[in-house]
């Protein structure tokens, strides 16, 4: 007979741990409890929020899948590069005496072969040997196509080589060298194809993408070329980290106090004989009644906004003054001043100590400002100190130091350098390897927000021409009116 009242919720979302109370002295405790609806059962403080996000970031394991693609590509290209050399070396090793000597043409072919291989090597290094920036959900079609092409190509060359050269122990060495040279030529052309498909084709802009963040409506427009949906998603995410201001879950549009008043003002009683529970009818009636009622929540919102604005400005003014004053306490010690005044020795500090010395007077103003603008989750004391040290080292003015805190910067500014990467989910109604086309909509989802991307094609431009003779610019004063009758 113990009534347990438990707070439901996931364990990592609530800062109150599961509490089970046993009320032995009141058996009826559970029956007379009034349950308060309208407030959420999950409560979370800001420290928990940061801790949770950090946990989730680091918990994605280092996937080996990330390196399979490049490893495969690397092996294939190594195989392809070794092949011509193998073609040349194998006859020399196996049946050197039977080979017909070939003079100048072979030497010319050797040189050209060597240089072409060098060019292939360098351009492969430049173009393809880069650490991959993203793992795509499906195969990257062009890259797979090219790898299959290279593989088939080299395999067929080996096949022919095996049948025509190794089996009958071909003696015409010049022919073999020419065969190897033709392979290298073809590899160069495949690389050209790879360059065009992977790097060049998507450079010419063809579509305009509108990216909107679902939580606060921040939006941007980008121009992209012909890409598949997954590649366009990677492209958008690259730009997202630079262009969009960081997502702050603590900033909401309408404060809860105003929103909650609207919906919980009415209770609906149905006085019908038949007690069919028409829930949609009820909610509609509530909404209609709420709309008709003359409420002043817009007023409250307006004044609340104005008040908040004023508060932020006041705190900002205090912060700016505090920082300016703090910066006047230290100055850079120049080399020649070091030994100038032995009578008044000044304590020489390194940047870290200097930062700690001047942090104290501005700490309070900084903390208050961050709390008012709800940025305190993004800046810890340690990070502020590090930034201050950085600014002092590079002779920055107080304004430059404050730039980081006065405006919410792009998401990139707040990233920790972890090698684990960010997990994004691509949500789309079309298969993600299909190309972009008009009217396509896909979204990129993260844990607590998503980016919705809409595709529109760029308009076709019809450019006309009109020639103006530079001598035709003539003007007269117009004070005479002329009427036609």
């Amino acid at each position: 007979m113990d009534n347990e009242s438990q707070y439901s919720g996931y364990s990592y979302k609530s800062s109150h741990s599961r509490s089970s109370r046993k009320h032995r002295w009141d058996d009826n405790w559970g029956e007379t409890t009034t349950v308060v609806t309208g407030t959420s059962e999950h409560s979370i403080s800001n420290e928990d929020l940061t801790r949770v996000t950090k946990d989730l970031e680091e918990s994605t394991p280092l996937e080996c899948k990330r390196f399979i693609g490049p490893a495969l590509g690397g092996c294939l290209s190594f195989f392809a590069l070794i092949t011509p050399l193998a073609f040349l070396i194998l006859p020399q090793v196996l049946w050197r005496d039977a080979l017909k000597p070939c003079g100048t043409p072979c030497e010319g072919l050797y040189v050209s072969l060597a240089f072409k291989l060098l060019v292939l090597l360098i351009s492969s290094w430049a173009l393809f040997l880069r650490p991959p920036r993203a793992t795509l959900p499906r195969f990257f079609v062009f890259r797979c196509l090219l790898m299959v092409l290279v593989f088939l190509f080299v395999a067929s060359y080996w096949l022919f080589y095996g049948v025509r050269v190794l089996e009958p122990k071909e003696e015409d060495y010049q022919g073999i060298v020419e065969y190897a040279a033709s392979l290298v030529d073809a590899l160069l052309f495949i690389q050209y194809l790879a360059l065009v498909l992977l790097e060049v084709r998507h450079l010419q802009p063809a579509f305009c993408l509108k990216v909107v963040r679902s939580t606060d409506g921040a939006s941007k427009f980008y121009n992209v070329g012909h890409l598949s949906i997954q590649r366009a998603a990677v492209w958008v995410l690259d730009r997202y980290y630079n262009d969009f201001s960081v997502y702050n879950p603590a900033v909401v549009n309408l404060p809860k106090s105003i929103l909650s008043k609207k919906m919980t003002g009415f209770k609906v009683y149905s006085l019908d004989e038949n007690t069919t529970n028409n829930s949609t009818g009820q909610s509609r009636a509530m909404i209609a009644a709420a709309a008709r009622r003359r409420d002043n929540s817009h007023n409250e919102y307006y004044y609340e906004e104005a008040e908040m604005e004023r508060r932020i400005r006041k705190r900002k003014a205090r912060l700016v003054v505090a920082v300016e004053e703090a910066f006047t306490h230290i100055k850079r010690l120049h080399e020649d001043e070091a030994g100038a005044s032995p009578k008044h020795p000044r304590e020489v500090m390194d940047p870290r100590e200097a930062a700690q010395a001047i942090f104290a007077p501005m700490a309070r103003a900084m903390q208050k400002y961050l709390r008012t603008t709800r940025q305190q989750a993004f800046h810890s004391m340690e990070s502020i100190l590090t930034h201050l040290q950085f600014c002092i080292t590079h002779n920055m003015t107080p304004k430059a130091f404050l730039e980081r805190y006065l405006t919410p910067g792009p998401t990139m500014q707040y990233q920790q350098q972890s090698g684990r990467g960010r997990q994004w989910t691509l949500v789309s109604e079309e298969p993600v390897t299909s190309g972009l086309r008009q009217g396509l909509v896909f979204s990129l989802r993260r844990l607590d927000f998503s980016l919705v991307v809409t595709v529109t094609p760029l308009p076709f431009l019809r450019l006309g021409e009109e020639f103006i003779d530079p001598k035709s610019h003539k003007f007269v004063m117009r004070l005479q009116s002329e009427t036609s009758v």
Binding site: V476, M477, L479, Q480, S481, E482, T483, S484, V485
Partner: protein, 128 residues
């Protein structure tokens, strides 16, 4: 064609009769006028004396009634249907030309070549 204030204006004029052409609901004459006592006489390209504030013909529609009747660009209009055109505002001139009740306008115009022609004829045939 300059005038001396206080003295009557003398000029050699030509009579031109223009039949108005009915175009839709408008009656048009087929030329444009410029000038008037409320306009800037210095802008007039056709006047000899740049202080002349008379009404001048500035444009002729090719093939229109005015051209057919013999009006030429640069002519100065002295009278329209008996109304004087040497001391009128631009708008008054326009009104006298575009009266809806009349379908014929009789103009007295003057131009430089008329004077020359008269001088030539005078010179060649000296009057006694």
């Amino acid at each position: 064609m300059s005038f001396v204030p206080g003295q009557p204006v003398t000029a050699v004029v030509q009579r031109i009769e223009i039949q108005k052409l009915c175009q839709g609901e408008n009656l048009i004459l087929g030329f444009s006028i410029g000038g008037g006592i409320d306009q800037d006489p210095g802008q007039n390209p056709f006047s000899e004396d740049k202080s002349d504030k008379g009404i001048y013909v500035t444009r002729i529609t090719p093939g229109g009634p005015a051209e057919v009747a013999g009006l030429r660009i640069g002519d100065k209009i002295m009278q329209v249907n008996g109304w004087d055109m040497t001391m009128v505002t631009h708008d008054q001139a326009r009104k006298k030309l575009t009266k809806k009740r009349e379908d014929v306008v009789r103009l007295l115009i003057t131009r430089k070549s008329l004077e020359e022609a008269v001088k030539h004829s005078k010179g060649s045939h000296p009057r006694q």
